[in-house]
Symmetry: C2
Subunit: 255 residues, 2 copies
């Protein structure tokens, strides 16, 4: 996802549209009146190396994280060590919120590449919530969104063929990029074939085979981690989705 990082506009704490706090509806109360709030609250920005862990399942819930650049995967695991990736997360998305019910993270988050992350501590977050009551409601909305995402993934895992899964996957990536003003037709995959296969529930080798099949059929051009979607409409047919023309970004972002 190097092209993402390149395109990433320089990001000050006030104008930063990538800052996930926008998704909590904080823009409402903050932009006009008290412009110092974000600086006070978005305490620590730091870098993650590829493979570095942001938090582990079962760990105490201390902070939420907003991705500024790079990408992060989250996954859960069985007792005997099998993993199921539950999401890939790109700049502008918030991580860790679902820990709020149990007070501990229920999945593990690991950087897929060098990534920049904002850490917002729980206390800061609660202080924000006090000042801006709608934050509570926004949190419910975000958990709802997450449930929706899980439901989509369950349908994918339970009911779709390998081709459908991959077409669906590529289209969903494309849509999320479009939403953030990146090209919906051309992007880098920051995750390995193995990660993709794990996420959509098929073997790594099947991912390869189907990608080459898609390429032979003129749907995509793929070379290692770089992919061009050359026929989104036909991909939509395979994924059995109604074709959706690219959406323009709005803020606060819909995930």
């Amino acid at each position: 996802m190097t092209n993402l990082t390149e395109q990433d506009p320089s990001c000050t704490s006030i104008s930063c549209q990538h800052c996930g706090l926008y998704q909590l509806g904080l823009s409402m109360g903050l932009d006009s009146a008290d412009t110092s709030l974000p600086d006070r609250y978005i305490k620590r920005k730091f870098m993650l190396k590829r493979g570095q862990v942001l938090y582990r399942a079962g760990e105490e819930f201390t902070s939420i994280y907003s991705i500024r650049s790079g990408s992060v995967k989250t996954y859960i695991s069985t007792d005997d060590g099998r993993l199921q990736i539950t999401g890939f997360h790109v700049p502008g998305e918030l991580l860790g919120l679902n820990a709020i019910g149990e007070n501990r993270y229920n999945c593990e988050a690991v950087a897929l590449e060098a990534s920049s992350v904002c850490k917002i501590s729980l206390e800061c977050f609660q202080e924000i919530a006090l000042q801006i009551p709608s934050v509570n409601y926004q949190m419910l909305r975000m958990m709802s969104k997450e449930i929706k995402h899980h439901q989509d993934l369950m349908l994918l895992l339970g009911k779709m063929s390998a081709e459908e899964r991959l077409a669906t996957y590529l289209l969903s990536l494309s849509r999320r990029f479009a939403l953030r003003n990146y090209s919906p037709n051309q992007f880098n995959l920051s995750m390995s074939r193995g990660d993709i296969g794990n996420y959509v529930g098929i073997a790594e080798e099947t991912v390869c085979r189907i990608f080459t099949r898609f390429q032979e059929e003129g749907l995509i051009i793929i070379r290692r981690r770089h992919i061009i979607l050359t026929d989104i409409e036909r991909l939509s047919v395979i994924a059995r989705e109604p074709y959706q023309p690219p959406t323009v970004a709005r803020y606060p972002l819909e995930i």
Copy 2:
């Protein structure tokens, strides 16, 4: 699930341990002080016939429901009509809460058999929340629980063999029954083989085949909808779960 209904204790609005409101932590403020609250709020109790719809996906969020007897399935669907069952719900469980973020239900709920249900309107619910602030927190907890449940299901759908899926399924049913003081070794399946298969992501026929295999191996005795788990330990091995002795019910219930 006829045996469930038979065992179901008579259920007044005050002492009703099955009433899902206990899960919202309402017992704390209510039991001692204002014993009239439940009567005021748990307005409508009514019966559902088998196959009757409680709510549909996309419908406006008007009420949450607490199951008093019987059972209900919830499911989501693709554009082209394939369904994925996301849960089977038994007495004591609350339904519809996850609609709170989007203000519309995100799945469909249908009775599996004749069932009795309490309807709690949104307004009533909000009034309760005003009087008992902890309700907000309890809601977050419950959404967290739901996310946890989805994660388990995703692991099942994405990473498990057919045998593991069914063993896991039977054990999870057993555990939920134990939690409600029903027998963990012997119960009725209120859902069809097709529903079971849909839920765990395998074909109806595979469900049958594996159930008979389990029976031949002395793990279960199954005859139509009635099942006896004769070797829970060995089932746990197949499901790759650590063996858990049956848990006794506590209130408020953990789902």
